[in-house]
């Protein structure tokens, strides 16, 4: 199926861009008329994915983060967050709740949150090449305003 609309973003991995990234995706998805809760779920998942790029993929450096977002007639939203950072050696391990390589201040819940707040999560990674995270959620369609 062809998306009814699509957008792309790229920005440097400065932590100040976390708020920008989730707000941009949220503003775009608003076209599907989501509930506050649905929008909050998407914002949170995007925030987790982008934070992973900043904290892990580009740990001691600044790199580019790419976001592609597609929305479909049936309410489906697909957000792809991609980096060209260090990659993940063991995806299974990285996705375990409470697992973190970043010490006390990280809860290790990023993937667990993405998984529980979205309908689908797909992670692909190559060490040394980068990681891409695909988030999918379907916004419930509500009756058309004009009646039928």
């Amino acid at each position: 199926m062809k998306p009814m609309n699509e957008m792309q973003l790229s920005f440097p991995s400065n932590s100040s861009n976390e708020a920008f990234a989730r707000a941009a995706v949220s503003a775009f998805v608003a076209q599907l008329d989501p509930t506050v809760g649905e929008l909050c779920d998407i914002k949170t998942a995007v925030s987790e994915a982008v934070t992973n790029c900043i904290v892990h993929a580009y740990r001691n450096t600044i790199g580019t983060i790419y976001i592609n977002c597609r929305i479909y007639e049936d309410g489906k939203v697909i957000v792809k967050v991609r980096d060209r950072g260090c990659g993940i050696e063991d995806i299974q391990k990285a996705m375990q709740p409470m697992y973190t390589t970043s010490g006390d201040e990280r809860a290790g819940l990023g993937f667990a949150v993405m998984q529980s707040f979205m309908d689908r999560l797909h992670v692909a990674s190559k060490p040394g090449k980068g990681t891409s995270v695909i988030l999918q959620k379907t916004i419930a369609r509500r009756p058309a305003k004009n009646g039928q």
């Binding site: 934070t51 006390d104 949150v113």
Partner: protein, 110 residues
């Protein structure tokens, strides 16, 4: 966005506001820890009344403060959680680390 700290009767209250993500958590953590390590309160209250968004970095922030307070046997309480933040808090199981109390409407704001 940020944190306002009030120390009264051995209780340090941190009134958090805005969006708590990895970027904001760093600053909030610094401010709370600076005061908390100085006054060593018996209780740290994290008031979420004015928080509009929180991701797992906020969970890390709470977990880290629980650890800090344990150093001198203090406790952490979470107060006034907005509904859209409750979900991530329960997913993280923060109720096992600290007390989560529903709002206290009679308390004065200023």
């Amino acid at each position: 966005m940020g944190v306002r700290l009030i120390f009264k009767n051995e209780v340090l209250t941190a009134a958090l506001s805005g969006e708590i993500d990895h970027h904001a958590a760093r600053e909030i953590r610094g401010e709370i820890d600076l005061t908390a390590t100085k006054v060593k309160p018996q209780e740290l209250v994290l008031d979420f009344s004015d928080v509009s968004f929180m991701d797992s970095s906020g969970v890390g922030l709470v977990m880290g403060r629980c650890k800090l307070m344990q150093l001198w046997g203090g406790k952490v309480e979470i107060r006034n959680l907005p509904p859209n933040i409750e979900r991530i808090v329960s997913l993280a199981g923060l109720n096992q680390l600290c007390t989560i109390r529903k709002g206290d409407p009679d308390e004065t704001n200023e």
